[in-house]
Every structure is written in C-alpha cells, then in structure tokens.
Subunit: 416 residues, 2 copies
C-alpha cells in the first residue's frame, strides 16, 4: 500500500503514489519525466486521471466521500470503489472483450488503476449526439449483457455461491439507496433536486407526480430493485457508461453494481437509446435532418434486445446440464418444457426491461440528473418538445409494458 | 461460555453445562437434586431436552452437524442454531405473545436455552389429528404472521437496515438449500428420498414428475424463494412448528429463517391446514364422522387469511408515514392510491401464499418428509385416498392460483 490512510490525490501526490506502487510504475517503465497526467472526471461522482508515459498508460479513478457533481453536501461512501473494482473483475472475467482490465486496487485509498481507453474511444452518449453510427454496438452490448447477467444468475450458479455474493454486495447499500431515491422516488414527488425544462414541462412534471397508475407501477419496480437478487448487475448501464470506437465497445463505471434484477441493466441501456432517439430532432440541422440516424437508433435498439435474447438463451441451452440450480436438468429435461420455461423467463425479463427502461427515461427528464442528449439542445422550446415526446412514450411503456410481445412492437408504438 | 468447544450433550453433561451457565442455573434455583431432564426431540433435526426443577424450568435445544432423522449421512451445519436464536429474538421482540422467550444462546455449542412450553401445550398438528378445536388459532396465527412479516419488510424498514439483515441471513444458506431440494426439486424428479403410499399413488407421483405446467409454476416459486428478500420469514411454518393450548399459541423452530417471500410462511401454514382437512376422513370413526371438525378447519383457514389481511393492512395504514421505504408518504399520500397499492400488494401476496401452500402440500405427499396427519392413518388404501384428494387440490391451486380473488373462493373450490 502506497499510502497508509485515505487522502484525496492531486496531480502531484498522484506521481508519488505511482512511484510507490510497482504495478503502476512498471506500466510507465519507471520513467516519470515525460509523464502526462490529465484530470478528466466529467462524470457525476469521482476523480479520474489519465496517466500516459512513453512506455505505457493507465487511468486512475478515485472515489471521494461525497458526490462530486453536488459537492460535500451529499456524502457518499468511498467504499463504492471497492464494489466497482470487484464488479469490474467479475464482469471482466466473464466478458474481457468489453470490460477494461483492472491493474490495481487500493481499498484504503478507494482507488482503481485500470486500462486507459485510448482515443478514438469516446463516451457513447457523445457519439449518439454527434450522429455517429457504431456498426457493432448491438452485437457488443448484447454480448456484454448476456454474459454478465447469465453467468452471475442462478441459471449458471449454485445457491451457495449466489447467497455468498449477494451478501457481499449488500454492502453497496449506499449506492443502491441513491438509485432508489433518484430513479424510483424523487421524480414522483416534490423534491428540491428535481428540475425540468421550465415552464414548458411544468404541467408534465406535475402530471407525473399526480399519476396514480404510474406510481403503482413504479412501486412494483422499486420493490423488485430492492428485493430481487437475480444477477450481478452493472447498476448504471446508460450510454454514458459505455466507451466506443467504430469497432470497440467498453463498459465502465459499475460502482452501482449489486445483485439486482437483470431488467434494470438491459432497460437502462435500451431506455437511454430511446432518449438518444427522441433527442435527435433537437440536433437536426439543414445539413442533416437525422432521419436516417433515428432509423439507425431504432434498428440498434431492436438488435440489442433481439441479440441479447438470442445469446442469453443460447448460454442457457449450452449450460442446461451445468451447475445452475434454478432449473435442474433432472426436472427440466425435455425440449418442450425447456422451451416453455425459457419463453416465460424471457417474457418476464422483457417486461422488466421495458419497465426499468421507462423509469430511467422519466427520471432523466423530470429528476435530478439529466442527459447531455437533451441538455445539448440549446433552444428551450425545442428541447422541451423532444423531452415531452420521450416522457409520454416512457409513461406508456411503464404503464402498458405487459402488452408488448416483442421489441419490434415497442418500436412500432413510437408515434411517427 | 460453559464449554470451550462444541460437543454433543447428553443428560449427564447437560447438568454440568447448566451448573456452569448462570442464567440457566439461576432458572432452576441452583438446585440440581430434584432436576428432571427428558430428551424429547421428536422433530427431524435436533436434540431437545426439557429441564424442570422445583424453582423453574427451561428447554435446551442443541443442533448437531447433521440431520437427526436421517443421521450423519446427511450433514447439516450446526450454525443453524445461530439463525434460529436470532430469528426467535427478532420475532420475539415483534410478537412476544406467540414466540417463546430465549434465555441463553451459546454459538460454540449451537445451543439455545429457552422457555419450556409446559403442558397442556401440544404440537398443533397432533391437536388437529385428535380433532381438537382451538378457538383462538386464526386470531393468534394471523397476529404472529402479520407482525413478523410486516415489521421486517420494507413497508416498515429502511433499505439500509434491510440490506444489512439480508446479508446476515444469507449465512443460513444450507438450510435454504435443504428447502430448495425437498420442496422445489425432489418431488418433481426421481429422487432416492421421495416416497409415497405405494402402489396406490404410484401413478400420481409419476404424474407430478411429468406435469410440464406444474414444473413451470414450481420454477417461478423457486426463483422467488431464492431471489426475493421480502421479509424475515420463519421458513418452516407448518403445523408441527406451532404449540398450542386452548388459549395459547406459540411458534417454535425457526431454524430455516431468512429473508424470503412472505407468502412462503403464510402458505406453509394454510397449506398444512388443508393437509389436516384432507386427512380427517382417515380419522373418522363411528363415534365422530369429523364433518363438523372439517368445517371448523375450513373456517379457521379462511379466518387465518382474512384476519392476516386485516391486521397486515392495518399495520400498513398505521405506519404509512413511518420509516418504511417501499411506499414513501410523499408519493403514496392519497387515500385512493393507498388503497390501490395495498390491493395490488395483497393480491400478489395472496397468490404467492396459494402457490407456496400448494408446493408444501405436494411435497408432503410425494416427497421425503411426510406429515403425521396422513401417516397416522393406518389403512394404506384409505390414506392414499385422502392423500390423492389433497394432492389433486394442491395441483389445482399451484396451477390456477391467479384466478382466485379470496380465500373463500379457494375453500369453495375444494370438491365436496
């Protein structure tokens, strides 16, 4: 351990830290003269340093005991770094192609040293705002989600392993509570943290707070989030937690990871694709009306679910005689039954996905933390128009999710 | 600590142990000459000693590292005593009137010293077989279940407390696994432990193993059992875990306790009342045709659910502005909405109750551990007839539970 007790690093003390930490100093060939260090933490929570030397590079991410974007007034355990490192390692073993490697973790310092995702990697959300098409996005994200969710569920694991890991991740309760508040509670009540494009959406925000059916549905999803330990989920899988190039897709920032409902991850990603879709009209200009790009987003959304479904059930088929204890081979041993149970499981997961996805959309429009997709639309009235369409669609999804049988039906339900 | 390492007690070493343990020796006034000690462990798992002296009495329950009724060939952690003591304390604080007091717990020895439920307390199951009416049974059991389940759920608690306690009880995984096997798995496959009244029920047992719809339903319930941490449940709440007199009802043996679905407890109790009902024809004789008693059991079953519903929702109303985080008052703050969410919650809980209750019935007829209600019917053919009716009704419940709106409808569905 480089430092014996926690201290927030700055660029100067970071160099001391690297020098005292062999795995990091070796990465840069113990050459500190040409080291370039840049603080790039543009997320909401942490400090992130890119460290590049002539021999190699890495990223240092340090959690401070509060939420960065709000300040010391909103305390938040720095132990989240421990759960982030643990989730990166577990998910990284299951899906190394889409999870950056962890080189170093220091629990005392709440500090992770990990792969630097070098340019041209950018945050997917920024790419979606810029109108860039990523041909492998659905392919890669469906691989990441199917591997991490299937292999940490009872479809693949024993209840002994499951209960042990559930207990461990119960320790990440503070981050879970943050989600409970900002996704499942605040948007549905008056809260000092809520904001929206005012005055345009004043009535819309009020309508969310007065909608009994919506509140009934969000309660069901909140219970599932709090009570159902289905798989080790990322917990914050929006398009700002994914870095991309034209052929690389890397999932970062799993500090909200815990054993929760699978649909929360799949829904987060799909819900944020829908947000990207609804924001496109605000990015259209005389050079690009974004119509083709909007189509591409919808195809990508369909592809994400359909490929996820295909890969997830393929893992299930492959391991149906494996260690998973949810469906013992001695009981679920005939092809007809295997198909019935899979269809039921996937239908329930699909409806969870739509519900959680809708909840993630709603909170980005009338809750505390908004998305750059909309925020980057400068004209208030135009932004409000995009946001209202997204909000109305999300409300429909949340209330009527059970009537959809396929993602194509869902996409078709988007008003022209 | 009386003994520094674990050893199974016998009557002689038990006296040494009592002498060395002030809270126990004080109970009997440190007078050992007239001490009466009797081993009465007629359950499946543990050794139980009744200790009665002139000044006082208590029970000593010791868990051994295997399942008593099967022997050392089926190992089972003796740590279960820790979770039993913990559950007795938590549930005892919530509902002291129906949970025996714990005087002493010794983790090293896996030993609990607790209140001796003096005669005329008998095991409820034996009372039901004898045809004894307990006028307060529904009243008392609904109080016990509503208090223990409501106050350990997110309807009353914060997610911080919840996750901490969920993590703790994840440690009781071995007992959970025993339930998974004997209730949710073995009856639906060929297993060396299964048995039934052969040859009469050979086809019935086979039919359970070949019923795809039944297997689909039991999978859903198993997932809920393994994944849904809804409340601190007793985990084994059959009529053999309740001791009664005409005016006292005491719930014992919560060694299977963990955070699981509420319906598992309510269903266990109601399912076992149904078993008692279906066994009555086997106990009828020329002096008592048991018709009146069968009616009484059905009224008691209805009363148990209806009173549970009433008390549970009354606690909810009382504490709707309390610490529970599932339904925040700032969101669920209008009477109409409060009623809608309660109705939905109670309907789901009712269907869980019927499903788990049915699963508990099925496993008692074609699984490893049977019930004295049926076992005490000496005539094989008559026993099989009673069991078949119970099994058929349980299969109906498991498959069609969602169509029932009230317990009275369920009772009406029993064939005349």
């Amino acid at each position: 351990m480089a430092f014996s007790e926690f201290r927030p690093l700055d660029e100067k003390s970071l160099i001391e830290y690297i020098k005292a930490t062999p795995v990091l100093s070796n990465k840069v060939g113990r050459n500190y003269d040409d080291l370039k260090i840049k603080e790039v933490g543009d997320g909401n929570l942490n400090f992130v340093y890119i460290v590049v030397g002539s021999a190699g590079s890495f990223v240092i991410k340090q959690a401070l005991p509060y939420i960065r974007c709000i300040g010391e007034s909103w305390p938040m355990t720095k132990e989240r770094a421990y759960f982030e490192a643990l989730a990166l390692k577990v998910h990284g073993q299951l899906c190394p192609e889409h999870v950056p490697e962890v080189y170093h973790f220091d629990r005392t310092m709440s500090l992770i040293g990990m792969r630097y995702l070098e340019p041209p990697h950018i945050i997917l959300r920024k790419g979606l705002i810029a109108g860039i098409k990523y041909p492998y996005l659905a392919e890669h994200m469906s691989t990441y989600m199917s591997k991490t969710l299937f292999y940490t569920s009872l479809l693949y694991r024993t209840t002994t392993e499951h209960k042990r890991d559930v207990a461990e991740f119960c320790g990440n309760v503070e981050l879970c509570r943050l989600t409970e508040q900002v996704i499942f509670s605040d948007p549905y009540k008056v809260s000092q943290y809520n904001h929206w494009t005012s005055p345009y959406l004043d009535r819309d925000a009020e309508a969310v707070r007065e909608d009994n059916v919506l509140k009934l549905e969000i309660a069901e999803l909140k219970s599932k989030f709090c009570e159902r330990a289905q798989a080790l989920i990322h917990g914050d899988l929006h398009t700002g937690s994914v870095m991309v190039t034209s052929d690389s897709t890397q999932v970062i920032d799993p500090e909200f990871a815990f054993y929760g409902p699978m649909g929360f991850d799949v829904g987060a990603f799909i819900g944020n694709l829908f947000l990207a879709y609804f924001a496109q009209d605000g990015h259209a200009d005389s050079f690009d009306d974004r119509r083709s790009y909007k189509e591409w987003i919808l195809r990508m959304t369909e592809g994400t679910w359909n490929l996820f479904h295909k890969k997830f059930t393929a893992f299930w088929d492959k391991h149906k005689d494996g260690p998973g204890e949810a469906y013992l081979p001695a009981i679920y041993n005939n092809p007809e039954l295997q198909q019935i149970v899979q269809e039921k499981f996937m239908k329930d997961l699909f409806h969870d996905t739509l519900g959680f996805g809708a909840a993630k959309m709603i909170r980005r429009i009338v809750g505390v933390a908004h998305v750059e997709d909309f925020e980057s639309i400068k004209d208030d009235s135009k932004r409000a128009e995009c946001e209202r369409k997204a909000l109305d669609f999300a409300k429909l999804l949340l209330k009527e999710r059970r009537r959809f049988q396929s993602i194509n039906e869902v996409v078709s339900a988007i008003p022209a």
